[in-house]
């Protein structure tokens, strides 16, 4: 199709508007983190400072502790999702069985039903089990949004997986464990990586589940960010906000080629 000149400049213009809109909300956050007071009507801060960053990175502020805690919770939720999600993905991807549609629907449901709808009920049960206000409880409740994505990604991987290689390895005398390690695992590794990164990011962005089950005692980065934002400490909010989005950017740079154009996999970011 022949493109006219006007059409071309229209494309570039709308592209520029889109680029601006996509980065716009992150700009004031970044500027605030380096501002020393930034009062109306100044377009830019009069004084710049590293104070917010010094505070956020100091030992006493608790931001670093919170960062490690958030990493630990997300890693644990991801590891559990992989451990439990890979077998389930195998069942859904490789077999046809009665009730499969119902199982798929039950796994899909937590990706659509909002956390607030289930977490109130869980909270009242966790109280009696002593799991509320604990890191364990928070990790468990994070499995609700992370596990379905892991299962769905792995089901997609196993749907294109040929089990004949396993049979061949077994007939050549490999033990089940060796077969899994040397045959199955290398074949499904890309799925585990992509699914695991989604699970990590989904857990990383949880707010209301952590707030209720952690009871404010398990203070992950988003909770800290929310508190500073509502307390009006914009400079520290900016610094924590920058720290908070960093893992997502790193993961994106590491996996850019895995993500593009794979709608099923990218769908995982919906709940973030």
């Amino acid at each position: 199709m022949q493109e006219t000149r006007r059409m071309r400049s229209f494309r570039i213009l709308t592209g520029a508007v889109l680029i601006t809109w996509l980065v716009l909300p992150l700009i004031p956050l970044a500027i605030w983190s380096f501002a020393k007071g930034w009062f109306y009507p100044d377009l830019l801060p009069r004084n710049w400072s590293l104070r917010a960053w010094e505070y956020a990175l100091s030992d006493t502020a608790g931001v670093i502790d919170s960062l490690w805690l958030t990493i630990w919770i997300s890693l644990a939720a991801t590891a559990l999702s992989i451990l439990v999600g890979v077998p389930a993905g195998r069942a859904l991807g490789m077999y046809k069985f009665r009730g499969k549609e119902i199982v798929e629907l039950m796994i899909l449901a937590p990706t659509i039903v909002p956390g607030i709808a289930v977490v109130l009920g869980i909270h009242s049960v966790f109280i009696s089990m002593g799991l509320n206000n604990s890191v364990t409880g928070v990790i468990l409740v994070h499995l609700i949004p992370t596990l379905p994505y892991m299962v769905l990604v792995m089901a997609g991987i196993f749907a294109n997986y040929d089990p004949a290689y396993e049979a061949q390895a077994r007939s050549l005398g490999a033990s089940p464990l060796k077969t899994f390690w040397y045959v199955t695992l290398p074949a499904i590794r890309p799925g585990i990586i992509v699914g695991g990164l989604f699970a990590f990011l989904v857990s990383w962005s949880q707010y209301i589940l952590t707030l209720l089950i952690g009871g404010g005692r398990v203070e992950t980065l988003p909770l800290l960010l929310f508190n500073f934002a509502t307390a009006g400490r914009n400079d520290i909010t900016g610094a924590i906000g920058m720290i908070y989005i960093l893992p997502g950017i790193v993961i994106l740079l590491l996996t850019a080629k895995h993500l593009s154009g794979r709608s099923g996999a990218v769908g995982g970011f919906g709940q973030i």
Binding site: R11, I12, T14, G15, L18, W21, L22, V23, L24, P25, L26, P28, L29, Y40, P41, L43, L83, V84, P87, A88, A91, L92, F97, V103, L105, M106, I107, L108, A109, I112, P114, A117, V118, L120, G121, I122, H123, S124, I144, L147, I208, L212, L225, A229, T230, G241, Y244, I245, G248, I249, L252, A256, S260, G261, R262, S263, F269, G270, Q271, I272
Partner: protein
């Protein structure tokens, strides 16, 4: 080991977690919303929580507001996402950057977006300062209320920011797998550009758009932290209201919170129905 046993064992751990935590959480919420909890001595279920929810004016205002937020955000995001996908389908200067930013945006948590919107659109935010710079306003209070406002404009802007890339990436993948042959045929038969889009491409991508929109609607209806940061105090979005009732010092308000949680869950069940309907159609097509 027979296949049936194998399938059962493979699914067992995942299904246990989902049934116990997700459906268990829903079930307990449902029981408590009916004031039924034999463990703590409540053995006679009643409808009092629902009666007080449905006779409370705040609930209706809150429900309407939340519906408005979810509906408006979903419609605007879907339309703009289709436009963005059409743009990204062709090569132009800056396509790589838009593509990268689309994916970057997918990884940024909603909470960060909400705080960004607060700093952009509040009455002393970046846009108010720009308006002052151009002499359009004097004091911050001259700037229109776009956050904490009754129309939830700030909340909707945040969702539009976050969901254009989400729907856009899905639609783009959809367009790429459809290819351009159908459109070429339509064009060669004399259809205009608009007719080709309206009668050929749009029907083809519509199921994909709809299933993505359903996910967005359910999310925007049930999200807590975004309206908590950007929303007005009264009426508050339904998830915020439910959380407030649940953490109220008056424990009697808890069943009401549970009832609201169940109402949110019922609405998302409707969304699941549409999602399954349209995503199945998409697979068949």
């Amino acid at each position: 080991m027979s296949d049936r046993v194998k399938i059962f064992l493979l699914l067992l751990p995942a299904m246990t977690i989902i049934v116990v935590l997700f459906f268990g959480g829903l079930g307990i919420g449902l029981m408590r919303s009916f004031n039924y909890m034999p463990v703590i001595g409540l053995t006679e279920p009643d409808l009092s929580a629902y009666v007080s929810v449905f006779t409370d004016r705040e609930f209706y205002l809150s429900f309407l507001l939340t519906f408005h937020i979810a509906f408006t955000s979903t419609v605007i995001s879907s339309i703009l996402a289709i436009g963005a996908a059409l743009l990204l389908r062709r090569s132009f200067v800056g396509r790589g950057i838009v593509n990268f930013l689309f994916q970057l945006n997918l990884t940024v948590p909603h909470l960060v977006g909400a705080i960004g919107m607060l700093y952009l659109f509040s009455q002393s935010g970046s846009f108010a300062r720009l308006a002052h710079e151009f002499g359009m306003i004097q004091r911050p209070s001259d700037f229109p209320a776009l956050v904490f406002d009754p129309y939830a404009i700030g909340i909707i802007l945040q969702y539009v920011w976050k969901e254009i890339p989400f729907i856009g990436v899905i639609v783009l993948a959809n367009m790429q797998s459809i290819g351009e042959d159908y459109e070429s045929v339509a064009r060669s038969l004399g259809a205009s550009k608009w007719q080709t889009f309206r009668f050929v491409l749009l029907p083809l991508i519509f199921p994909g758009v709809l299933s993505a929109s359903v996910m967005v609607f359910a999310f925007t209806f049930g999200a807590y932290e975004i309206p908590a940061i950007l929303g007005a105090n009264f009426p508050a979005a339904l998830p915020v209201l439910a959380y407030r009732k649940y953490t109220d010092v008056d424990l009697a308000a808890r069943p009401e919170a549970m009832a609201m949680a169940i109402i949110i869950a019922l609405l998302s069940a409707v969304m699941i129905y549409f999602y399954v309907r349209y995503s199945r159609r998409r697979i068949r097509g």
